[in-house]
């Protein structure tokens, strides 16, 4: 195999690996509340979520080829790679994609190990920004939108990152406090049984919406790599195999379930009662769909976390663990720069060693980092068996304070 072909193959495999981490990182967004309130058993929840993600990913026929255009300048407005990047057979562009994806995966795995819900799209954008900075310099990155458009790193990442948790928190707070007023005189049976279906409905909406949005990002990246290396030429279609592979991969990732993150979101922030879980999930689904209608790029993770927090603040007498929330917020702030740093480092390593060898080394480094973190996670495994254990005081087989788990 020629170095170019090795590079392309590695980009495709790495992109699918990112898609997989995207799946299990985000199961919690849709399902953490339903699992915590026992509206669904952990296993049913991941099966439902994975199925809807698969359906969602296959449903979307719109092409998300211009996904990288939000933060970097690799593509023309129609999605084709910029001409000057094709002079070397697209090698540099492919290496930027590979390094960016590697940065995103490593940050996704690290935050998973810490049990922190961080945004997969911020990780992807971060990795790509870092790799582009290293590969093309300051001008390769789109920092702000042109002509008042909400675009670039500021418009697509930073502003939504600040606004979306606040909006979701307010909505869920208002919803929860009113729902508890309505439900005040209801007996326990109505409270636990009655609110189940509303919650499952909202959680399903979120799963479907996730499938249509997130799988497309990987499809866009893979198709960009195929076009840059001359293996595909349409900017109006994604190859069928790319679509199928991305849809199946994100569904498998979702099915695996990021139990560490589900635990933090479902049990760590607040104790969630069924009326609260329903309010939180309906708040999330509404905010996500409303912003999708306006083309505002917010992160499902931030919305879901904001909603769960809001539902805790809104419930009379609920205890919110602000320490956990603070740790999450710090993960959000560091996602973009951290993924960017890893992405940049990966590009420099890959670039120094040449396309074929360099890309292989980057890929091996990624595998090593992933394997190390996976092994580390086995020391205190969290799965469907213990995901709902009491947060504190920690029983023997559950997860102790995450500060001790560092990478």
């Amino acid at each position: 195999m020629s170095p170019e072909l090795i590079l392309l193959a590695l980009v495709v495999v790495t992109a699918l690996a990112f898609d997989f981490t995207n799946g299990f990182h985000d199961t919690a967004n849709a399902m953490a509340a339903s699992i915590a309130t026992k509206a669904l058993t952990p296993k049913t929840a991941v099966v439902l979520c994975a199925t809807l993600n698969l359906v969602g990913a296959l449903l979307s026929v719109e092409v998300a080829l211009t996904v990288t255009n939000a933060v970097i300048n690799l593509q023309n407005p129609d999605g084709s790679p910029r001409a000057e990047l094709l002079a070397d057979g697209g090698t540099r562009l492919l290496l930027i994609l590979l390094a960016g994806l590697a940065g995103a995966i490593i940050w996704n795995l690290a935050t998973w190990l810490w049990g922190l819900p961080s945004s997969s799209s911020h990780a992807l954008f971060g990795g790509l920004v870092g790799a582009t900075l290293a590969g093309l310099g300051w001008g390769g990155v789109k920092w702000v939108g042109e002509g008042g458009k909400v675009d670039g790193v500021v418009g697509k990442v930073i502003l939504p990152g600040l606004m979306s948790p606040a909006i979701a928190l307010i909505v869920a707070l208002v919803g929860t406090s009113l729902v508890f007023k309505v439900a005040a005189k209801l007996t326990e049976r109505y409270r636990t049984q009655g609110f189940r279906w509303g919650q499952v409905g909202a959680a399903s909406l979120m799963s479907l919406s996730h499938g249509t949005n997130d799988a497309q990002k990987t499809m866009g990246v893979i198709t960009l790599a195929l076009i840059a290396s001359g293996h595909w030429d349409s900017t109006h279609e994604v190859p069928l195999w790319v679509k199928l592979a991305c849809a199946v991969t994100i569904a498998l990732g979702t099915y695996l379930g990021g139990w560490r993150i589900i635990r933090t979101m479902g049990k760590g922030l607040v104790e969630i009662e069924p009326p609260q879980g329903m309010s939180a999930d309906m708040a999330s689904a509404s905010v996500i769909l409303a912003s999708s209608q306006l083309g505002f790029a917010l992160s499902t993770t931030h919305v879901a976390t904001g909603s769960i927090l809001g539902s805790g603040v809104g419930r009379p007498g609920a205890q919110v663990r602000w320490g956990v929330a603070g740790r999450m917020a710090s993960a959000w702030l560091t996602t973009l720069p951290a993924a960017a740093a890893v992405g940049a480092l990966m590009f420099l390593i890959g670039n120094a060693l040449g396309p074929g060898v360099g890309a292989s080394v980057v890929f091996l480094l990624l595998c090593a980092a992933g394997g190390y973190m996976w092994l580390h996670s086995r020391k205190e495994p969290i799965g469907h068996h213990n995901v709902n254990d009491d947060w504190a005081p920690a029983p023997k087989d559950s997860k102790p304070d995450k500060k001790e788990v560092g990478v």
Binding site: V61, V144, L178
Partner: protein, 93 residues
Amino acid sequence: MWLTALDDAWRILAAGLALGAGLPILFALGVKSIAWANGDLPDTARNPFGRVLAVVLFAVVLLAIAIGIGYIVAHGFGYTLTFDGLLPSFVKR
């Protein structure tokens, strides 16, 4: 850009409050109506009308969820949801 973003944020907050807080309240009222129909509310006599009310309330919530699913699916095919008067309809983006 800041103003556009703030403008978006207000709209999302408004829509979020209407749907994200409104629907849970309707759902909670629906659950309460069933309790009313079954005579399970303290100091309130059993009233079969509660069941009718519950059906109406749940139907509204279900309709909203159905429109939500329709919206997601339509977006995947390059269509978007508009409200012509009050009737939702799908148009090509």
